[in-house]
Amino acid sequence: MKNSAEVVIIGGGVVGCAIAYNLAKMGCKDVVVLEKEYLTSGATGRCGAGIRQQWGTEMNCRLSKASMDTFEQLNEMLDYPVDIELKQDGYLILAYEEKEIEQFKKNIDLQNRLGIASKLITPPEAQEIVPHLNPEGLLGAAFCGRDGHANPFHVTQAYADAARRLGVKIYTYTECQDIEMKGDKITGVITNRGRINTDKVVNAAGGYSDLIGNMVGLDLPVYSERHQIMVTEPVNPLQGPMVISFYHHFYCQQVPHGAFIMGQGDPNEPRGHNIGHSWQFLQELSQKIGRTFPVLRQLRIVRQWSGLYNMTPDSQPILCEVPEVPGFFLAIGFSGHGFMIAPMTGTVLAEMILGKELSMPVEKLDLGRFDRGELVLEPSVV
């Protein structure tokens, strides 16, 4: 293992690998990625694999739109031989209450202004797009046909392989145990395999970013929350878009491989790092799916699992250098949508670390916003 590096990135998920690739591409090749298990073993490999641009805050919209532009070219850009399984059959977001319709109208205004082609549609129009949808109680829906799906394992592997070819060292089964400091300056990272000399560390540790923050004496305004998810056996193509409902707290999509992946948010889920599973989840979500898509009732569930959302108070990520700890960068708090905005996050963080002009201003996503009280709440999280 190398004993020094210009930049050490903690976390071998899609965000860490995307930052590493972008650093190397911009000429900074002396980069190490530390992953305590294997690539995508954390939140990336447990996520619902959806990529959407229909968000309710300017920054989430901008990051997701720019990331979708990149996803569309990712296979060629990273010269990755396996298909990343990009599918763009849209996201259909169901509204069951008038106040949801009002919120969607606001979101769509914002999205359209930022160049995202979303629209409000009627229940019959929604049924044309998803014929097996039960329209009972449905008031309308938001739809963007360019949203969709990509395979998180392959996207991460694509970034990791491209980063390695440019000289980045990725150490799996290598855990960051402490960060050494002299005054407010970082001097090194201690791992279970030895010490690495560095003065720049990137916290891309997903659900464990709070623990990495503690290592430099920070109490970061993030917490982790288990989200459960399940998958069925594969069947012939039936459902184009990802369908989500904030009212019922669920999402459901058919991936290109044929399986249906679906999950739900539990408003009563306690904070913590638990990634266990519960039968209550299986039962509750199955009831919702059975009601909303009666034809799916006969599908067999083959697995349930869970992963961590790393939440912030406004459900937007924190992307910045910490003023109190120069050289300590944050790419954390993705609040359940880190995968879909990883490509642009990788670009912006690499530019920030190298002191370059940012291709997208992200100062609104700094750490200080929580103290200043300048929060713009993201209303559209499942």
């Binding site: 294997y38 690539l39 995508t40 073993s41 490999g45 394992f153 592997q157 069925t232 056996e233 594969p234 491989h257 599973h277 039968w279 299986l282 039962q283 199955s286 009831q287 799916i289 059975g290 799916l296 009732r297 006969q298 599908l299 067999r300 569930i301 083959v302 697995r303 349930q304 699992w305």
Partner: protein, 92 residues
């Protein structure tokens, strides 16, 4: 054993495809799974796991007691969304 025999029946993966992924760096069953989907099908690895673990041991030199087992998750056999939603057996 021939290289073109299928080891993972659910996902139609040959021994050669599995060995190639191990040679490309996958050191555990859970890593292989994320790269080539072995063990992600209807049987969730119950048919192929032991054969695939042997290929991992053969190529990486890890011993059986060093090799982590894949994480088990419910349901232990596939169940329909209808049955799962109906819930407790004693309610029937």
């Amino acid at each position: 054993m021939k290289d073109d025999i299928i080891l993972c029946f659910c996902e139609d993966l040959t021994r050669e495809e599995i060995r190639t992924a191990i040679k490309n760096g996958a050191r555990t069953f859970d890593e292989l799974k994320r790269l080539i989907r072995c063990g992600m099908g209807a049987c969730q690895g119950k048919t192929c796991e032991d054969m695939i673990q042997r290929e991992i041991m053969d190529i990486t030199g890890q011993k059986r007691d060093e090799l982590p087992l894949p994480r088990r998750r419910p349901p232990s056999v596939g169940i329909s969304i209808d049955d799962a939603g109906r819930g407790d057996a004693d309610e029937e």
